[in-house]
Symmetry: C2
Subunit: 415 residues, 2 copies
Amino acid sequence: MGKEIDLKNCIIAQSGGPTVAINASLAGVLLANAENKYFDTIYGSINGITGIFNSKLLNLTKLQETVPDFIEKLKVTPAMYLGSCRYKLPAAGTDEETYTKIFDFFKEYDIDTFFYIGGNDSMDTVMKLSDYASKIESDVKIIGIPKTIDNDLCGTDHTPGFGSAAKYIAASVAEIARDTYIYPVKSVTIVEIMGRDAGWLTAASALSRNEFSKAPHLIYLPERAFDSDKFIEDVKRLLETNNSVVVAVSEGIRDKDGNYISASSSSADNFGHNQLSGAGKALEYMVADRIGVKVRSVEVNILQRCASHLASLTDLDESVSQGKKAHSLSIENKSGVMVTLKRTSDAPYTVETSYMDIHDSANNVRNVPDSWINAEGNDVTDEMLTYLKPLIIGEPKVTYKDGLPHYLNVDHLLP
Amino acid sequence: MGKEIDLKNCIIAQSGGPTVAINASLAGVLLANAENKYFDTIYGSINGITGIFNSKLLNLTKLQETVPDFIEKLKVTPAMYLGSCRYKLPAAGTDEETYTKIFDFFKEYDIDTFFYIGGNDSMDTVMKLSDYASKIESDVKIIGIPKTIDNDLCGTDHTPGFGSAAKYIAASVAEIARDTYIYPVKSVTIVEIMGRDAGWLTAASALSRNEFSKAPHLIYLPERAFDSDKFIEDVKRLLETNNSVVVAVSEGIRDKDGNYISASSSSADNFGHNQLSGAGKALEYMVADRIGVKVRSVEVNILQRCASHLASLTDLDESVSQGKKAHSLSIENKSGVMVTLKRTSDAPYTVETSYMDIHDSANNVRNVPDSWINAEGNDVTDEMLTYLKPLIIGEPKVTYKDGLPHYLNVDHLLP
């Protein structure tokens, strides 16, 4: 029995580092298709594009139809439901075989469109695959859906996952500040936040300020050279009028010569390591040495990208919209594009989905504009706050079971 | 105009490290008094007992009557609303003046009862003050209300604050596990959890296991000597059948000679420090050196004691009950006592409030029973899970404003 010739399927994969919203984009594609059945079957590729190489697939259409509340739960489930990979597609000229394998797979599974949800590396893959499709005159459409907590993709107002991470950072810095305010002693608390090259997420700590708390009192982004002497002066000045000084610092701050600020050990430790601690630890030691007050550093670590219990509803809703937009771009026969968000107004906050040529976004990093950092380089401006505020609004309904957030199980990712 | 002679007031203070539930106990005392007006005025002492020395007080009765939703907001506000102190009362024989000052204050403010909400040090203060009251035949009653995320107070089933911290740990370890499952590569993730001497909170990580995830695959408590060779064997064995191995470890683990397991630098770093990193880092280095897989350590840090957005409703409700019980103990003319919780059934879970002589609790540490740790010393038993499960149940209603949890302001704690 031969294959039916009029089947039209698609495949979706997720890649890069986890975010809280990356499954909401996946849910968006599924929701759109449930409305118009443009695709017969939506496949999920397990572990990014590598699932295509070894045919590790999920039938998402079937899951959507059979698992109770699948879409609702998918929308709030953190980290990639389909798993991820760290895989950079080789240039087409250098490794034809890989491309042949992918497009053979597309043919075998009647794939009409490949959707890739991810950050810069994934958009690079979208670009290479769509270029290759043009070259071999394949009709398969390749469409990118952005995500990254770093918010550093070009051509879009902000990226899915960023709003939720920003909300987690703002809420956590506010709670950390409360923790520091209880003792009437001079203290400095350094909070180290993710973002190696772009300071968006560290900037979001400014949202934690409220009617009584000015924490974080200082904010240092990687976009400005970090000056240790100026930092110590800033802290000393603030300690004159505050008991507790809270500092938000990006993991990626560098001095004027471009060297990362880190607390490196001058010789190996007793395990034989040349220890390299991060920016937070480095600033902690500077304060201990040069000011001598009580000081602590907190590395927020991976919870900032996987804490769905504190997601932004705005972020999740917009991620769903971008998944839906990707689906409609396929119907409109677009390929080699990335879904984008255009902000149409700050107050009231309104956005609309759009798209751009993938060549204009891939492999470029969007930094915080210099004019959104204050002159002293130790805070962000009101423009930044106006930009950030709407992105953390709203709380999704998270279901709790036995006292814990209950998300979709991912046993298909486990060996 | 002279003072009325029939005024009956009380004063409450909070001390030690923050918890999410310590203000719920304060709310309990206020709620009980709103019902029967036993006290004319309830004062709050700012920064623990030190507020008594320098007359830094809040009129809590007035706040309760004038601030909209004061009690409701107080119940979910993290960290001490009244601030804290790290102050150990000197022995009465060595420093009569301090005691005189305190009891003079009690007389001046018509104090009938002093309630102290705190951990071991605060209960030591309750003991010393009640002993002194007996000695000088003062009628002032001294009553302790426990709190500590460490759950290490003797004579009570569990302490206010522990259930919420346990919930935060369980939810966070589950989210960290999801973060590790997305890559199909061998990896080890070490999560370092608070608890220098008692392993209760680290044990709570076991609650994060569910129908598909066995994380944390290994749990090490300070109650058992830590054997590095055995640890490496455990991890190697698990890596044979799992891609991701998640390890929960108490910050206080020690080897068989009682030395803390830490990654200390053999010489000073370039800031002149002899770096001492915690147990998590130490285990990370062991895995890197002796197994050589991808490894990361996460120090959960202070968020485990101040993240009210993930509080346990059971914990908050029980804390309110214990505040109310303290109030009723005062009416019953008890002094030198600490409120306790007695568990009357595991399934269905039921508890009742009670009290104990402060001499039987103060300055003793309650460790995890040896029989609740498995024979291999790398996990907890079902008895532990039965004990822990009810403590994290339920979610309080947290109000959000501008996308962030909205709690009572604490501008009275700021200079």
